[in-house]
């Protein structure tokens, strides 16, 4: 890949053509906030906190730095009144879900975000997808995924896979920007029957076909138990 020269906040930065703006900025030591980016994972462009102004061929666009590829003579501004306003609102929206998150609190200070601006919905999860993508891309297990869409979107472990894979891994827990608790809770909720029984039924399944209905019933009962736990934590 050939090298190009771009400008970030007035500073001339060398970058290779396969880099994103975020990558080039990181190399030059210029901070751009993000909560959904991870060096081991493919760019996602979900949280949009890394939104910057990118000027090319006389046109300025607001783009997500983590997914936007660099090109020769690109002029990037990482801070402006408009960008700060966007980051403030985005942080406030995420804080409604995870008011205790350290990384969000740091962002709140930087962008003067009010954590109480929007009605609280303590789901803890801000749907950054780090756990989902790490499990799919690095571990290649797909034990956790997104379900539903829009405001109903949430993460969910797939019990059949999670029961077999997650107990000895849990590498996604420390990735969680709102604390590992979220992943832990969702994992527990999905692991309806005790892992030993899934393992047993897996063995059973080998002789009889798919796992039976009993497992699902068990999972509903366990769900209720964990929901109370979640609520209890929310109140705390």
């Amino acid at each position: 890949m050939s090298e190009v020269s771009i400008q970030i906040d007035g500073k001339v930065v060398a970058a290779s053509e396969d880099m994103t703006i975020l990558g080039a900025a990181e190399r030059a030591g210029i901070p751009i906030p993000t909560v959904c980016h991870h060096e081991k994972l493919k760019p996602f462009g979900g949280c949009r906190l890394c939104t910057v102004e990118a000027e090319a061929a006389g046109r300025t666009n607001l783009v997500a730095a983590c997914v936007y590829p660099v090109q020769a003579d690109l002029v990037v501004r990482t801070r402006s009144e408009r960008i700060d306003k966007i980051r403030k609102v985005l942080t406030e929206q995420l804080l409604a879900h995870a008011p205790e998150s350290e990384i969000l609190q740091t962002l709140a200070k930087e962008y003067h975000a009010d954590k109480d601006r929007f009605e609280k919905e303590p789901s803890f999860c801000i749907l950054c997808g780090l756990c989902v993508r790490y499990c799919a891309e690095v571990k290649q297990k797909n034990a956790v995924g997104f379900v539903d869409r829009g405001p109903s979107r949430e993460i969910s472990f797939i019990p059949e896979i999670a029961a077999l894979e997650c107990w000895d891994c849990k590498e996604c827990f420390p990735l969680c920007p709102t604390s590992a608790l979220q992943a832990a809770f969702v994992l527990m909720r999905s692991l309806a029957p005790a892992p030993s029984s899934i393992r047993a039924s897996e063995k059973h399944a080998e002789t009889t076909s798919v796992p039976g209905r009993e497992q699902n019933n068990g999972s509903i009962a366990a769900n209720d138990g964990n929901r109370t736990l979640l609520q209890a934590n929310a109140e705390r």
Binding site: R48, T51, Y68, K85, I86, V89, L90, E119, F146, R149
Partner: protein
């Protein structure tokens, strides 16, 4: 199988020679709208009646594509006289056969007439709804049975393909499309030729071309009508595009909710293969191309091209960042060109008639015609095709015939759920991509919803934001959270919980959602909010400050009560109230129990005009209910009058 242009021409002549142009042809619209109003039975009745009259050999009966005048369906056109009958029912069929077919007499009551304007029109072309249109694309629908490829061939079908393959190089085809100025009809308005060129130039052997038929805007059915009514025009456009781009495989992504479109497209592809328009060595040109149909599961966001591609690959339909654009890295990472149904349908016209011909329609930067689905509070609901640059006023009043029920026009919402509302004072803007954007709305794919004075603009914004909240994929936070928060604020305002600062907060959320979202869904989602704030800010303010809904739409802000001086105890409202909120009784003045009333307005609508006793208010308190002893109505005339006088004394 046709192996050369000469063979195609020979076949075309055979088809035409078999079709005596003097033979009577009965064409019945079999589009989704007319089928819903009973066109299927009308077709059956014509077949039976023609057979009964022993005219089967002399009369051709066929179900066709949709000509657009859905308001007056089922539509029947009788050729060669070009007589157009509207709202035809099976009971009318014997008379049409005995009078029009046998005696060549017009059945007067079935032709278009407007008593108010003293207008009457027998021929389709003379009906004001059609007269003011330029129907380059949907004009042929009524002449074609979409399941019969010969009907399309009889109308010069696939001649553009022959011209492209045998008289033009692929570069020339591309140049012609570029020169035509055609812009994407799906909403983006990106120049089609430039998009094609990017895919053509992209390195790689395998390339794909795709028809985006995932039409999901509420109330929009342009693409549906073309797919259902003239599927071969889309296939022809797609094959020509594939030739220009260098692609040998195409997909049509149709939403599952369009069963007739799926059926007709499937039949069309099969016939095109049998005739040699698809497959290996098309018409002996050495060009190979084939098409597969993919059924979409109905997520609105899959109309966005990157989400469509992922959905086509079998992955969750969520948009991804661009660049890379599909032109360089699309389906399975290969160069891909996606265009909307209507865009593809324009291509054969451009190739057949030339870019110069095409350029005569439209404005400086938006060429050709555009189909709009004209719906809402409009007399002539239907599909209208006009040159770009037609004014909104002409579309609404000349073609749509204005607002029904003597109501006043308030706004027109263009561009689908993420479009904007344009008020009366901007009705004279020319409808093209740039002018609509300047006015705060968008062209979108061509939705046009007319709103009258009874519509609350805050409620309209709430309605569309509700749709977008549901349809956001949830991948990026500005859209998932921002649209939800805007919807929440709008709901609060319409339910009487609006507060100072809400408008400013909406504007702030609109800014972050509109500028930071990943795809066009989020980036355009603020349009309904911003355009209504821009033109109808006073309505927001009355909702927030006075807790009043000026159009009496928002149920949480409207109350109903019975005026004791006017109530005749007729008991109609009592019977109709679904909430059992009316305290009635024989000869007792009725009272609305405010605790039970949900402000649905039924009592207001059913109260006979001669009484007009149900009163609708907003932003003011409901008068105290009258004491029970004063509710009695004495029916003897004189006594009643005295009682009324007494009552009015009391209420004074």
């Amino acid at each position: 199988m046709i192996n050369s242009p000469a063979e195609l021409e020979q076949l075309r002549q055979e088809i035409l020679s078999k079709r005596n142009s003097n033979k009577a042809r009965i064409s019945i619209c079999a589009g989704a709208g007319c089928l819903a109003t009973g066109a299927g039975k009308v077709i059956d009745a014509f077949n039976a009646e023609v057979e009964k009259a022993g005219l089967t050999a002399d009369v051709n009966v066929k179900g066709t594509g949709c000509p657009g005048f859905c308001e007056r369906g089922p539509i029947v056109v009788i050729d060669p006289a070009e007589i157009c009958y509207l709202q035809v029912s099976p009971q009318d069929v014997p008379e049409i056969v005995s009078e029009t077919i046998k005696k060549e007499k017009v059945v007067d009551r079935l032709v278009y007439s407007d008593p108010a304007k003293n207008e009457k029109a027998i021929r389709e072309a003379d009906i004001p709804f059609y007269k003011n249109q330029e129907r380059n694309i949907i004009g042929n629908n009524i002449k074609i049975d979409p399941k019969v490829i010969d009907d399309y061939l009889a109308l010069r079908g696939y001649s553009a393909l022959v011209k492209a393959l045998f008289q033009m190089t692929s570069e020339q085809v591309l140049e012609e499309v570029k020169k035509s100025g055609l812009r994407g009809r799906g909403g983006g308005g990106f120049p089609t030729g430039i998009k094609w060129e990017a895919a053509r130039k992209a390195p790689g052997e395998t390339k794909y071309v795709i028809v985006n038929a995932d039409e999901g805007d509420p109330g929009a059915f342009m693409d549906r009508a073309v797919l259902e009514g003239n599927p071969h025009s889309i296939l022809e456009g797609l094959i020509i595009g594939a030739y220009a781009i260098g692609s040998h495989e195409g997909y049509i992504y149709v939403r599952q909710e369009y069963p007739l479109a799926l059926e007709n497209v499937g039949v069309a592809i099969k016939q095109a293969r049998e005739y040699g328009f698809l497959g290996r060595n098309i018409l002996g040109s050495n060009f190979d191309f084939d098409i597969k149909v993919h059924r979409g599961a109905g997520a609105f966001v899959c109309g966005e091209e990157t989400a469509l591609l992922l959905s086509l690959e079998g992955k969750p339909g969520e948009p991804r960042a661009r660049p890379p654009y599909p032109a360089t890295s699309g389906l399975w990472g290969k160069p891909t060109n996606i265009n909307n149904v209507e865009t593809w349908a324009n291509v054969p016209l451009i190739i057949n008639n030339g870019a110069d011909w095409y350029n005569q329609f439209g404005t400086a930067r938006s060429k050709g015609t555009k189909i709009f689905s004209l719906v809402g509070k409009i007399k002539n609901t239907g599909l209208v095709e006009v040159p770009m640059g037609a004014t909104l006023r002409d579309i609404i009043y000349k073609i749509g015939d204005g607002i029904p029920g003597g109501k006043k026009f308030k706004a027109v919402q263009t561009g689908g759920p993420a479009g904007g509302c344009i008020p009366e004072e901007h009705l004279d803007i020319a409808v093209d991509f740039d002018e609509l954007t300047k006015a705060g709305a968008i062209m979108g794919s061509g939705g046009m919803i007319v709103l009258d004075e009874d519509t609350c603009m805050v409620d309209v914004a709430r309605y569309f934001l509700n749709f977008l909240t549901q349809e956001s994929c949830g991948k990026c936070s500005p859209c998932r959270e921002g649209v939800k928060q805007m919807h929440r604020i709008l709901t609060n305002i319409t339910e009487g919980r609006g507060k100072e600062g809400d408008i400013e907060l909406l504007e702030e959320l609109a800014m972050s959602t509109g500028s930071a979202s990943l795809c066009a869904l989020g980036r355009t989602a603020p349009n309904p909010v911003l355009s209504t704030i821009r033109y109808f800010r006073h309505e927001y303010e009355t909702h927030i400050k006075e807790k009043r809904c000026p159009s009496f739409t928002c149920q949480g802000l409207v109350s109903y009560y019975v005026d004791p001086a006017k109530c005749d105890a007729c008991r109609i409202c009592f019977r109709e109230c679904s909430s059992h909120a009316i305290i009635g009784g024989k000869n007792l003045i009725h009272i609305i129990d405010q605790a039970k009333c949900n402000a649905c307005g039924t009592c207001f609508e059913v109260c006979p005009a001669r009484f007009g006793a149900v009163i609708r208010i907003s932003g003011e308190p409901v008068p105290a209910r009258i004491p029970d002893e004063m509710r009695i109505i004495v029916r003897q005339r004189r006594v009643k009058r005295e009682k009324q006088d007494e009552r009015s004394l009391h209420t004074d």
